[in-house]
Symmetry: C2
Subunit: 411 residues, 2 copies
């Protein structure tokens, strides 16, 4: 194991508190996030840990069972080094600091070997995980499918008849799970009038534009046209997860938050309730509005690493878990292959390397659950990056994961 003797990084981003964000009674107006800027720097340093203070929400209840106890076997990985995307040698400690980390957890063989909080995050703090929500919803679909409720290969309009006039009418759950429908949805973050911005407005994450009436998430879905054949290839579009949630709710008659509570959150030994943001119609933002504590994300990830088992029961069918990392038939091309040449997208999970089968739940601004069954290593990182996507940060996170996995394997 390689170690370095380096000074602490000087590139420590300021915490929300150091910047005075939402400090004071009342905070100065320019230190209060608005609907225009809450998820952008510097406000996201505060917002991602305080989503309930900004939006209406709905609980994903943990239930009455005991929290899963994570054994601890803490190890000093701070001095471990890896080669960063900029060519420099970084320590894990510096990387965590520089990459706007709020919470970071590593588990090896089911034991926590590293748990670290920055930016005033604490073990009880719920943190927005953006598109990590997609992987949760995907797994829920797997459980409902296993219960016989959701056949994967029938046209979606059979579940939700009003889809008949939009691009999703003849797409299947299987295609949408893999984000292979032929529906047009432009995933441009922060761009006025993009499809993504329409969803942000509908979900209450952005202010209305001019006089345009605010529609709901589902109204937006109904406007999306088909632009190519379904099932041809992967194209990352957040809205596909909202379609999954709609199908699950309509089929069961139960809201997404309660489905997730019943089927997943209450069965993995979560310690705290999670929660989703909701739109005016009560629709949970399935594609990215979920919040939970660092350890509860880890409990979810560990269940996946353990083949779908937690607390002595099969929470998610083992075959479904296997499909989430079986990327051979789901390998993607550019631009996705730039960062992961052997990557794939399967069942709402990012497979980093189809040969190895390590896979990830990921969200913009630096959210990550990295599951490596072969090495029995789980890594969770919650962040408040200063931009939606930062390619070097993504590369560094992957390099750090590899270095950590290798170091742990040697022990």
């Amino acid at each position: 194991m390689q170690k370095a003797n380096v000074e602490p990084s000087s590139k420590r981003p300021a915490t929300a508190r150091e910047q005075g964000i939402m400090c004071g009674f009342p905070p100065p107006p320019d230190k209060q996030p608005t609907l225009e800027n809450w998820d952008l720097p510097p406000f996201n340093r505060w917002s991602f840990q305080n989503i309930r203070g900004l939006f209406p929400t709905t609980d994903v209840i943990r239930g009455a069972g005991a929290a899963r106890h994570f054994e601890r076997d803490l190890q000093d990985l701070n001095g471990l080094t890896f080669k960063g995307a900029d060519g420099s040698v970084k320590t894990v400690a510096d990387w965590l600091t520089e990459s706007y980390t709020d919470g970071f957890l590593v588990a090896h063989r089911g034991r926590v070997v590293l748990e670290h909080y920055l930016n005033d995050m604490a073990p009880e703090t719920p943190h927005l995980s953006q598109s990590v929500a997609k992987s949760l919803v995907g797994v829920l679909i797997g459980v409902l499918h296993d219960e016989g409720l959701l056949p994967l290969d029938v046209p979606l309009m059979e579940f939700v008849p009003e889809l008949v006039d939009c691009g999703y009418s003849r797409a299947t759950l299987s295609q949408v799970l893999d984000m292979q429908s032929g529906v047009r949805f432009v995933e441009d973050y922060g761009v006025p009038y993009s499809d993504m911005t329409r969803i942000d407005i509908a979900s209450g994450w952005r202010p209305p534009q001019g006089d345009r009436p605010v529609s709901s998430i589902r109204d937006v879905i109904l406007t999306l046209p088909q632009e190519r054949e379904h099932g041809l290839s992967f194209s990352y579009r957040s809205i596909e997860t909202d379609v999954l949630a709609w199908v699950a709710e309509r089929r069961t008659g139960v809201p997404l938050a309660r489905l997730l509570s019943d089927r997943i959150w209450s069965r993995i030994g979560a310690e705290h309730n999670g929660f989703f943001t909701v739109d005016r119609a009560g629709t949970a933002l399935a594609d990215g509005g979920f919040n939970a504590t660092l350890r509860d994300y880890a409990r979810f990830g560990q269940m996946m690493l353990d083949g779908g088992r937690a607390g002595g029961r099969q929470v998610v069918p083992a075959s479904w878990v296997a499909a989430c990392r079986d990327g051979e038939t789901h390998k993607f091309g550019e631009p996705y292959s730039n960062v992961a040449p052997q990557g794939a997208y399967s069942r709402q999970w990012w497979v980093h390397d189809v040969r190895r089968g390590n896979y990830m739940a990921r969200g913009v601004f630096g959210q990550l659950i990295h599951v490596d069954p072969e090495a029995e290593v789980l890594i969770v990182k919650l962040s408040s990056w200063p931009d939606y996507l930062i390619e070097n940060f993504t590369r560094d996170a992957l390099a750090a994961a590899t270095a950590i996995r290798q170091a742990l394997s040697e022990r």
Copy 2:
């Protein structure tokens, strides 16, 4: 004990679910509450149990301790009768049904003798309690005063300097606790441009009016003028509680929700977190934005009934609790004396009869914590009345409380 053999009331109000409110994926547009109507019938049947789905909120954390176990000694009080305000003889069961009850709990000598849920409320459901929040905040002030943090008789501008130019500059905590400041605030519910409506808009409970910029709760406070001498007489004005909260936050540097968690909620054995709605500046709506479960309201009330003690410790000073029911020097006149000729308002509590010393936390739309130390009876009622104030409903609740107290005393 008088009993009647009567048919169930035919005047059962429809539940939220029966009216289809927020049912369906998505619910029909006319079944979705809006900012204009969420607290009015029929929508409040749903909203008061689902505040988190409508507004940004902040937790009042219960802490890590065990929940206070309420022993149970259930008794059948359903057939108990009393004379209603309309002259008819009512059973407790019919009264509960007709008066839009969501949750109802009676404790006698510290044991639950009746606990009843309607309108799909459940033991885990948080319920908005409107101005019951005032009594919680008042008690918090008592604790902070006891800690030496808040002298009661200094001008408020010494705590919050920006109050200097508004009506509150020279009022004292003592005066504001008893709602005896001389500040003008028109407590008209649902009336456009009233002071109350300005607070509703600032706190996010109502949509903005026209082009008027939305200010925060505290901006509104700063606009209120003095209209008479401080300390002359009681006049119920919600805003006074928001002033208390501002002083407490500024003096301690800690947000209201955390103060209440630290000093009260974590010490009474609450089973669930409570929460407040917050405005854009993160200000908790101290005068009426609190939510908790029926049993947790009961735990709070029982602590008061027990002279400020809970879990073997003095949570609130006994002298402060005594002051909350000592109305002799706080007796009020009309219109308040219409319903309570011997009534008073002291330290953010309604004393029903100063000779008896039974006192209440109350909120519009039928929220009530009735504490009767002499009879060792605690009554909590959470409701979704079809109007802010319904005098006959108030009279019935008081008559029912008397009948229940007398019946229990005979046992």
